[in-house]
């Protein structure tokens, strides 16, 4: 695999230890333990309802676990608020693309570019404080350079996905959590996304939740498989595809490739 696994040998950036999440009695995650290395691109897969989105929610602070802890770069972040976790370098892309629909593409990026988060300090910051070139470049990277002054609400579904990815790049998070980034994209768009993600490896650490096995093969170093709130298996694409337990878990959902 992976000539492109540059930097995947760095130290551990993220540790999930024995995470349990309950939603009014229903156990969505049951003792999940997961390590991710600096600069790695980790794919997180599993059948519907396996708890993948919830796992990302725990990392970025949206959901607080009933027990267990989350450690980012050696610091425990389990109980921090969402914005504090974000300031520690965690970025999140949501399953339902979420951007600021009333703001223009450029304004969206300016929001994401969070140099200083304070209310009073930001009162004296106007325009994009000299980052205009950086934003143009990002827009170009995701093919939105013509649409900088268009309201995000006017973009197509695929473009909205791209915009949210560009926002995460503007945010420049150390650890980027992507929930189904290629959902609703055409084959061509998906290929472009794979190319982009491969370029991000090494500079950023990514955790990507995906169903599209073709896409996963393009980008992944190591795959973690979740099932019923637990880590079921971990390994390369080949190892996962031939793993009997994984096959069993996917039974009834049309097999791993069809998931």
């Amino acid at each position: 695999m992976p000539a492109n696994a540059v930097g995947a040998t760095g130290g551990t950036i993220l540790e999930l230890r024995d995470i349990t999440v309950e939603f009014s009695g229903f156990v969505a995650i049951a003792g999940l333990t997961l390590d991710v290395h600096e600069g790695e691109l980790r794919c997180l897969i599993g059948p519907n309802g396996a708890g993948k989105t919830t796992a990302l929610d725990v990392i970025c602070g949206k959901v607080k676990p009933a027990s267990g802890k989350v450690v980012l770069g050696g610091r425990e972040i389990t109980r921090l608020e969402e914005h504090q976790i974000a300031r520690h370098g965690v970025g999140r892309k949501f399953q339902v693309p979420s951007v600021f629909r009333d703001l223009t593409v450029r304004q969206n990026m300016e929001v994401a570019l969070c140099r200083a988060p304070g209310v009073l300090g930001n009162l004296f910051r106007f325009g994009n404080s000299g980052a205009s070139e950086q934003l143009e470049k990002l827009a170009e990277l995701v093919g939105l350079e013509e649409a900088m002054d268009v309201a995000a609400g006017a973009l197509s579904h695929g473009q909205t996905q791209w915009l949210e990815i560009a926002l995460l790049l503007a945010q420049d998070a150390r650890l980027i959590l992507m929930d189904e980034p290629t959902a609703g994209m055409t084959a061509h768009e998906t290929a472009k996304t794979a190319e982009l993600f491969n370029r991000l490896k090494g500079r950023h650490t990514l955790i990507v939740v995906e169903h599209d096995m073709g896409f996963i093969k393009e980008i992944s170093d190591i795959i973690s498989v979740m099932h019923q709130g637990r880590l079921l298996a971990e390994g390369t694409v080949r190892e996962i595809e031939t793993n009997a337990e994984v096959r069993a878990a996917y039974l009834g959902s049309g097999g791993i490739s069809g998931a």
Partner: protein, 373 residues
């Protein structure tokens, strides 16, 4: 496609400057002091509607308690002026008349500092601001959103209104604070019919509009708009959403408090009716009619609506149907002009918008796919 109609900042600045010019030269054309006083009142309403636009239009916080800030500001000014009135019964050092009637023997402690104009003016801004800080911290830290915020602020308004009416010995109760001395400051006398009062109000509104414009065009203003769109998304970029929401509420309260002080000057009294639900609802309607996401739009909405109301008020038959007209106007605007009257101005084509339309066309063309580049 909405976002594309917005004019560049220079066009906005020209519009704001033109508005300020008009309100500043207006007295040259009005010889009737009574009429000028009326216009001054409309401008005060413009100021308080513009204040609501900051929290509602920009940060998405529909504060139905805006009249709390307005009323508190008004009372702070009125208290200072009341203490300058020489009471008929008790002479120069005496208590305010309503306290004498209520058998109050000495001036209540919280009235004491209002002997100072400096304190009163600071209080007119700071009391509403601190109250907004408390409410905002409490409400937004608890992640209360949307209509629940409106309900809480409305409930607060009702409670404060009842307290002010109920504590007659301290507040003048239902009658409010009447028979006030005119404000005398910097050698000027700001009585309701003075040109000085009109200019004070016009300059205040102009300054507030430009300062407000600076705020909403700052990064803080941008984050406020992002919160209005999707407050959760903002959190995951590292911003403390509650702090921004509280700031918007406080700034709005400060401006509304200031407007309240000015209102006492034009009316020459303060009344619990300034601090009541109908005022709050009117402010919302003015802002919605003018355009809540525009400071100037909101201000002009207030001026137009109250101006029309004022010209009808000379004919009592029309006044009866006023509530109806206002309600109908509100519905029409909400249905057909959700961005308010100011959105008509946004449709005026300017040089720069041709490029934006071209960009829009490009986007439309590439809707189904991304440019390969």
């Amino acid at each position: 496609m909405d976002g594309q109609r917005k004019h560049p900042i220079w066009a906005k600045l020209v519009g704001y400057a033109a508005f300020c010019l008009v309100i500043l030269i207006l007295p040259l054309f009005i010889t009737d002091d009574y009429l000028l006083n009326k216009f001054a009142r409309y401008l005060v309403f413009g100021l308080v509607a513009m204040a609501l636009s900051i929290s509602w239009g920009y940060a998405g916080i529909l504060n139905l308690g805006q009249a709390v800030s307005f009323g508190l500001g008004s009372y702070c000014m009125a208290m200072a002026l009341k203490l300058r009135t020489i009471p008929i019964q008790t002479g120069a050092e005496g208590l305010p008349d309503f306290m004498v009637w209520n058998n109050v023997k000495s001036l209540p402690w919280f009235w004491e500092p209002f002997h100072s104009y400096g304190f009163a003016i600071a209080a007119g801004v700071l009391v509403p601001t601190i109250l907004a800080l408390l409410i905002g911290t409490f409400v937004f830290r608890a992640r209360v959103t949307g209509v629940y915020v409106s309900i809480i602020t409305l409930a607060l308004l009702v409670v404060i209104n009842l307290v002010v009416i109920d504590r007659q010995r301290l507040t003048g109760g239902f009658n409010g604070l009447t028979d006030l001395a005119p404000l005398e400051l910097f050698g000027l006398t700001f009585d309701p019919y003075a040109h000085a009062t009109y200019y004070l109000i016009a300059v205040s509104l102009g300054a507030a509009l430009f300062l407000g414009l600076a705020v909403v065009h700052s990064k803080t203003g941008l984050i406020m708009q992002a919160i209005r769109d999707d407050e959760n998304r903002v959190r995951y970029f590292g911003y403390d959403v509650a702090a921004y929401q509280t700031f918007a509420l406080c700034l709005s309260a400060a401006v509304a408090g200031f407007a309240g002080m000015l209102y006492t000057l034009v009316m020459a009294f303060a009344s619990p009716t300034f601090l009541a639900v109908p005022v709050s609802l009117s402010i919302v309607i003015w802002s919605a009619v003018g355009g809540r996401a525009s400071l100037l739009g909101s201000a002009m909405g207030a001026i137009i609506v109250t101006g029309v109301q004022g010209s009808l008020s000379d004919t009592p038959a029309f006044l009866e149907t006023w509530t109806l007209i206002m309600g109908a106007l509100f519905i029409v605007v909400v249905l057909f002009l959700p961005r308010g009257l100011i959105s008509l101005v946004d449709r005026i084509p300017l040089g720069g918008s041709a490029r934006r339309r071209a960009a829009a066309a490009t986007v439309a063309a590439s809707r189904s796919g991304i440019n390969a580049g």
